[in-house]
Amino acid sequence: MKTIYLDNNATTQVLPSVAEAMLPYFTQKYGNASSMYPMAAEAHHAMEDARAKVAALIGAAYPDEIIFTSCATESDNTAIFSAVRSFPQKKHIITSKVEHPAVMHPYKFLESQGYKVDYIGVDAQGRFDMAQYKAALDANTALVSVMWANSETGTVFPIAEIAALAKQHGALFHTDAVQVIGKMPINVQEAQIDMLSLSGHKFHAPKGVGALYVKRGTRFTEFMMGGHQEKGRRGGTENIPYIVGLGVAAELAQKRVTDGSLERMAALRDKLQNGLLSSIADTKLNGDPENRVPNTVNISFGYVEGEAILMHLNEYGICASSGSACTSGSLEPSHVLRAMGVDFKFAHGSVRFSLSEFTTEEEVDKVLEVMPVIIENLRKISPFSRMK
């Protein structure tokens, strides 16, 4: 059975060209970038080449604004703890209610250390509450950290506007941009961003490599303390093969943003969305239909449970995700959907399909063919569907 992979917000396939570019750096060009011989210089140059490509992808002014990390969780932790350590007199942080655990958990920790954290809410379509945000900002705000796009619903926040307000109040601005890389054009300078986290495996680089953009002139305190690598900003021997992979993937992602791939992806996503909403009763689109990354659609199917839907999709080789409590280690449905006020009837039955540029129309058609049957069968055995 052929796999139909529609879970690209979870992770992506490493592209063969990316894997191929990495290989020589394992067995042949394995030098430590800090050492003093030609093989080390080779590694060093490959790393700097990758740095320039990642900088270009996000519109950074200088390559040295990019710090390589092990993943976006490390980037997020680094940015948050750098902000609070660099401005120890400020004890206030602003974020949103729908962030990834990689920023939520550091905030919970900081709250236990006496910080005040404001979690800005979202409306029913997942849109950022700008009024609440404006009211929360003050001179004591050390950091505003808001994700660029939501991983579950794909909703894109107005980051330039949010960042500009943070700057006016003298706060640092950080964004977790994991879900927008390669899905829309972004420019850190235009958006006045101080720090930005990204993750390689969300855009066809391997797992285990990420980056943190830190704008020149931003006060910074390192998180991983160690050697002088990354200009003293991140200790630890540089992971050259993975950094090379990240560079190649960044170059490809940048091309994709302008070559029509996004429009094609959005058209397929819309076909999937409209097909599911029109062929199945009691469904609900989760997220902002206007401002959304082009690859993501999140739909709730009332009266059924998400994990059961995924298990049936597995029978057809279709890979997707759910915000259902049963698919996570926790027993609560998605905090994102609950923050949007999605009621329980719909919260447990949400399914997220996230496409890639390799998704085909046949794959979308297959989902459209099998989903109505799956939902009908599950509703047949649900005690709630008879209510209708």
Partner: protein
Amino acid sequence: MWDYTDKVMEHFRHPRNVGAIENADATGQVGSLVCGDALKLTLKINKETEVIEDAKFETFGCASAIASSSVLTEMIKGKTLTEAAKITNQDIADELGSLPAEKMHCSVMGMEALEAAIESYRQGGKPVVFEQESENIVCHCFNVSEEAIIKAIRTNHLTTVEDVTYFTKAGGACGRCKGEIQKILDKVNSCAVPQPTSAEEKPFADLTIVEKIKRIEKVLEEDVRPQLNMDGGNVELIDVSGTVVKVRLLGMCSGCLAADATLKGFIEKTLKEKLDPSITIERA
């Protein structure tokens, strides 16, 4: 990805005895839309021998919830009520090969629905919604009582807070009750007789949203829906805010000219009587 046994997947793909028995001799229910899983079990029972002649289920939930319900109906058919009452959640899990630790609460749900169904038969067939035996609620997110936690610890020889969460869901959401669960574990496992902690009756308005919904659903299911169903109607709980309960009338009720009378004169009156006089009903 959960490690489901072949038997779990087989029952999930091809559930046995799906549906509801007409004029059932017993109806047991547990769970709700809020919790993410719910099971309704209906039984046909021979009045002479008390043998369960037929069993059907309807389940809202994940693969292991569906499989647990399905296998339970097979296990109890042909058994007397006395024999069936001895089935534990571990028996259900064993029958399925095993369940992932995090999913053991699905088997507990089966056992609770069966308990409720047996109670229903004793009450002459009136539907019974499984209820924690005491008001002594430890986990307010999932409405789990101290008794239920003690029972799970004893039946399944649990030793950690994590285990208790897997079996009862208690502590699985906000986690505030984890300290209390640890104390219960310490008490039970050191064989001390558990002392019930403060068991005051909270006013309806002070309950958490989940507790409110559970209590309202129980009244709707036991006292309201049977009446509406007779006229081909139904009611769906939409939201609760303070003591304002928002519902939608369904089926024949939705277009009925007497809809307002049904809402105020029947549903609101019943909720006021059973739960709190300050409850008001709004139509969604």
